[in-house]
């Protein structure tokens, strides 16, 4: 076949595997070659599961040669963010505290991908415990952006985004607590989907903020993202917050187009505060939608300015409890101490990086006696207001849109000294985590420096069908086909 198999979409690769034009072993080898050529610069992966991936590829080839249909993901090389547990394979969550930790079980999503025949290439880099917007907070060093290695890939799922963008995986899983799938997807020029809270099991996801965390896919096309979503969604009895009904059916309406689609532009997020190039690409996309028959109107969500504040109370509060278990007693790294308390304190002081420590302290403070109502209690009230605002808006429009990130990829080190500037990177993505509805980012253009620009579509909870239909329409209209320099470089 022509071209490098590492550049195929999942749909293309699946077809080639079925037709016999390509074997899963060759596809894995191509993806490995791409990783071999790019990892020294990118550092997308923390761990490669060489043997496990080979076994899975062999199994897929065997099933295909027997004439079986092992499913749409059979033999497809995928990457997993390193905050999802993989049985027997190191799972660090980007933290020193979990160096060498090998979970005794697979996260539910990992189990579902394995059952679907996927080939899990390895575990990808992330901001420590998924806290960050640049993947610079990883204890194992930053991941770089395949479009420009001097820039960040976004975060916290930066490793997964970079791997898919560069072709060292055909798809990947990330987790999104405040934008950690959509923002790196935007900065790396690929598709990133955060499903409705509860549609994808969190069992086996190292928790950051339980009421906001959601696992979702990265892919190079909307259709591929839909395929991965279908594979991982559905009720899981091990997750008490998992949705019990039938998940939305997305495929029949995927190609339904923009005609008649009611699109609301979020006034508070689609104007000031965005870089001009981002606004320009966003505006062009809206025009194209309108020309193609969508009804585009502006919608105001007055609670949005407070969403970021509420998020930075709720998420740290939950994280302060979720991360309490990392004490060196039962697993992970342990520092000595004269008493158990001293041992725990030393282990935690040494093990957590500065951003994680900052959020644990913030959250502990927000939950403290005398402050609970003023901080955590108030933040929950704001969350309710945001939910109501969105519900009202969805009474008038099918989807809401805004830029995914106010800027394109920023330089490594540019914001590390300024946590507030870093927090603003998620201003457009955070509201839908508070609401619980799905959101997707897809590339619609590039700025003057050639860096990709993301377009975000949001839908009400369980609205994946209309969300993916709108995203697919935007994908067709935008015609984004560029690949990052590293993926196409002949110098590799």
């Amino acid at each position: 076949m022509s071209g490098d198999p590492a550049d195929l979409t999942i749909a293309e690769a699946a077809a080639a595997l079925r037709s016999g034009a390509l074997s899963a072993a060759d596809l894995l080898a191509a993806v490995r070659r791409r990783a071999g050529a790019t990892e020294a610069q990118l550092h997308a992966y923390l761990t490669l599961d060489v043997e496990g991936a080979e076994r899975a590829a062999e199994a897929a080839d065997a099933a295909l040669s027997r004439g079986e249909d092992p499913g749409p993901l059979a033999g497809i090389p995928l990457a997993i963010k390193d905050n999802m547990c993989t049985r027997g394979i190191e799972t660090t969550s980007g933290s020193r505290l979990l160096a060498g930790y090998r979970p005794p079980y697979d996260a539910t999503v990992v189990g579902r991908l394995r059952a679907a025949g996927a080939v899990i290439v390895g575990k990808t880099n992330l901001d420590e415990f998924a806290m960050g917007s640049s993947t610079e907070n990883s204890a194992y060093g930053p991941t770089r952006n395949p479009w420009d290695p001097d820039r960040v890939p976004g975060g916290s799922s930066g490793g997964s985004a970079a791997a898919v963008a560069v072709g060292s995986a055909l798809g990947a899983l990330g987790s999104d607590t405040g934008g950690s799938i959509r923002q790196p997807a935007a900065l790396c020029g690929i598709v990133g989907l955060k499903p409705t809270y509860g549609l994808v099991s969190r069992y086996g996801l190292v928790a950051f903020a339980s009421s906001l965390d959601q696992i979702g896919p990265f892919a190079r096309t909307v259709e591929d993202a839909a395929t991965l979503f279908e594979a991982i969604c559905g009720h899981d009895p091990s997750d008490a917050t998992s949705y019990r009904g039938v998940p939305p059916v997305v495929r029949p309406t995927l190609e339904a187009g923009p005609e008649g689609l009611r699109v609301g532009v979020i006034a508070e997020l689609a104007g000031e505060g965005n870089e001009p190039a981002v606004l320009a690409a966003f505006g062009r996309t809206l025009e194209a939608l309108e020309v193609a028959g969508a009804e585009v109107r502006e919608v105001s969500l007055p609670s949005i300015p407070y969403a970021l504040d509420a998020y930075y109370l709720i998420a740290p509060a939950e994280c302060s409890a979720n991360l309490a278990r990392f004490d060196g007693v039962r697993y992970g790294r342990r520092l000595p101490g004269d008493t158990v308390e001293q041992m725990m304190a030393a282990t935690r002081r040494d093990g957590f990086g500065p951003e994680v420590t900052r959020r644990i302290l913030l959250g502990t403070y927000a939950l403290s006696a005398g402050y609970y109502e003023a901080f955590y209690g108030r933040a929950q009230q704001v969350r309710t207001l945001v939910i109501e605002d969105f519900a009202r808006a969805y009474g008038r429009v099918d989807v809401l849109v805004c830029p995914t990130s106010p800027t394109t990829a920023f330089a490594i080190g540019e914001r590390t000294e300024d946590p507030l500037a870093m927090y603003l990177a998620d201003v457009c993505t955070i509201p839908s985590n508070l609401v619980g509805g799905p959101g997707i980012s897809l590339p619609v253009g590039r700025d003057g420096a050639g860096l990709p620009i993301g377009f975000q579509v949001l839908a009400p909870p369980l609205g994946e069908a209309v969300l993916l239909r709108a995203a697919r329409a935007v994908e067709v209209l935008a015609g984004f086909a560029a690949r990052p320099a590293l993926a196409t470089s002949e110098a590799r």
């Binding site: 999802m84 547990c85 799972t91 969550s93 979990l98 930790y101 979970p103 005794p104 079980y105 996260a107 969190r202 069992y203 086996g204 996801l205 190292v206 928790a207 903020a209 339980s210 009421s211 009895p237 091990s238 997750d239 008490a240 917050t241 509060a317 939950e318 302060s320 409890a321 309490a324 278990r325 990392f326 004490d327 007693v329 039962r330 697993y331 008493t339 158990v340 308390e341 725990m344 502990t364 939950l367 403290s368 006696a369 609970y372 955590y376």
Partner: protein, 480 residues
């Protein structure tokens, strides 16, 4: 001036569910350390809790039994504190929306019944167990800590009483009555020696008959009814002493030292905890449907107080009624015996007397013994028909408890059956009277003591197998 104590008790009860509170691990006592564990109860990264519906139902059942208000929506909270045997360093517990609020338990106290109000009943998970190794065995000086997480995540129900108790004896009676209710519901084995039921208490003292409340002290670490009573007695005495001497009681947490027989002030660091409660985001609120509540209400068994009242109405004295109502398995056995025709008082006497004594001799419990209600009914029939003497009945009971068979089988095998055939009895009497005409004449002349002589002779003739009462009647009849 006299002082009275004002006491509230917090009781922790491990529920006897098959699996733990938030995972599928078996909930059992005595397994090898760290053998009943999984990612959830070990607090591994990524593991999530799933609530045990049976534990929720058990807690609601207790609430319904005690007249509590069951919350239609209840919420689990995280209670945050660091401790080596608390795997997540937070405990999933309940805070402002417990499963049950209110309700009461009537306790028999000196001079009548004391109605003790309940504040709340909630559900949480138990911690693991720490064993501190070191020269002194004390926590601070420990050289190593061994951790066993088998108990981690075991469903733990907490029953909080209002400060309605007025003496250590009442507090003990309250705890005993609560235990009896829990056993009747079958929701816990409530074995005190295995820590399945543990107590904390709040106690203050005030001038007798007063209505204000003194400064209260919380006492922790009481693991038996006796230590609860002793600790409260010590503490009430200590506070009374302080106040009588013009001193003041300090609000604090004290720990009961069973060996030393006194309470000791805890470390201040432990008390200043701010638990930073917030709603557990890994769980959704518990919604209890009306149909479930109806089903649980209908399934409530007879409670100890009701059972005691019923037995009293059947003629049992208060002591026997309590023994039968609260002895493990006694009530159902007596009920079955009565259904099988036994006399309630006779049955209760057997149970509390010979049966209890013999079980103790055999070293087994009633549950392990082959005695049934039908056996007691049959035994009663044999006695009533005059085929067994009261003494022989006790021997038969022993035989049944030792597994020799039904009462009739035991009586036959041990040759205890009395002659009940009237013709045989009449013949024996006639034979004796014919052999002693002089004595018969004297009896007829009014010498009543000769009845005993003649009965003795009949007993001799029958080899001791006649019912002396009936022999005596027959002699009177024949000689009269």
């Amino acid at each position: 001036m006299g002082y009275e104590a004002v006491i509230g008790v917090e009781t922790h009860v491990e529920l006897a569910t098959r699996s733990k509170m938030f995972c599928g691990c078996p909930n059992g006592f005595g397994a090898e350390p760290n053998s009943s564990i999984c990612p959830v109860c070990l607090g591994l990264p990524g593991a999530l809790p799933v609530p045990n519906a049976r534990a929720i139902e058990a807690t609601v059942s207790l609430g319904l039994a005690l007249g509590a208000e069951v919350a239609p929506h209840s919420v689990f909270h995280r209670k945050n504190y660091f401790y080596a045997d608390l795997p997540k360093n937070y405990q999933i517990s309940q805070f402002d929306l417990p499963l049950c609020r209110g309700g009461h338990l009537d306790v028999e106290a000196e001079g009548g019944t004391r109605r003790v109000g309940l504040t709340r009943i909630h559900l949480e998970e138990d911690t693991g167990k720490s064993t501190h190794l070191g020269a002194s065995g004390r926590i601070r000086a420990a050289e190593a800590v061994l951790l066993d997480f088998n108990r981690s995540g075991v469903p733990l129900m907490e029953v909080v009483s209002e400060p309605d108790l007025r003496s250590p004896e009442e507090a003990r009676a309250f705890a005993a009555e609560l235990r009896a209710v829990i056993l009747a519901l079958g929701i816990s084995e409530a074995r005190l020696e295995e820590g399945q039921m543990r107590f904390d208490a709040n106690v203050s003292v005030r001038p007798e008959g007063g209505s204000g409340l003194g400064t209260k002290v919380e006492i922790k670490n009481m693991n038996s009814l006796r230590s609860l009573q002793r600790a409260l007695a010590f503490e009430a005495e200590r506070q009374t002493g302080l106040l009588s001497a013009g001193g003041e009681v300090e609000q604090e947490t004290r720990h009961w030292d069973e060996a030393a027989g006194c309470t000791r002030a805890g470390r201040s660091k432990e008390e200043s905890s701010d638990y930073r409660y917030f709603p557990e985001p890994d769980l959704v609120p518990v919604a209890l449907e009306a149909a479930l509540l109806d089903r649980l209400r209908e399934a409530l068994p007879e409670l100890p107080a009701q059972r005691r009242a019923r037995y009293a109405a059947l003629g049992l004295d208060a002591g026997a009624a309590r023994l039968v109502a609260e002895g493990d398995g006694y009530g159902p056995l007596l009920d079955a015996a009565v259904a099988a025709g036994a006399d309630p008082r006779q049955g209760a006497n057997w149970l509390t007397g010979e049966v209890t004594a013999h079980l103790r001799r055999l070293g087994i419990t009633l549950a392990d013994a082959p005695l049934t209600g039908a056996h007691l009914g049959e035994l009663h029939g044999l006695v009533a028909a005059g085929r067994l003497s009261a003494t022989a009945a006790k021997e038969v009971l022993a035989g049944v408890l030792e597994g020799e068979g039904t009462p009739a089988e035991v009586a036959a095998r041990r040759d205890l059956i009395q002659i009940s055939d009237e013709t045989v009895l009449e013949a024996a009497v006639a034979e004796v009277l014919a052999a002693h005409p002089a004595e018969v004449e004297r009896l007829r002349a009014g010498e009543q003591r000769l009845i005993g002589f003649l009965v003795g002779k009949v007993m001799q003739v029958t080899g001791g197998k006649a019912d002396p009462r009936r022999v005596s009647e027959a002699v009177r009849r024949a000689a009269g």
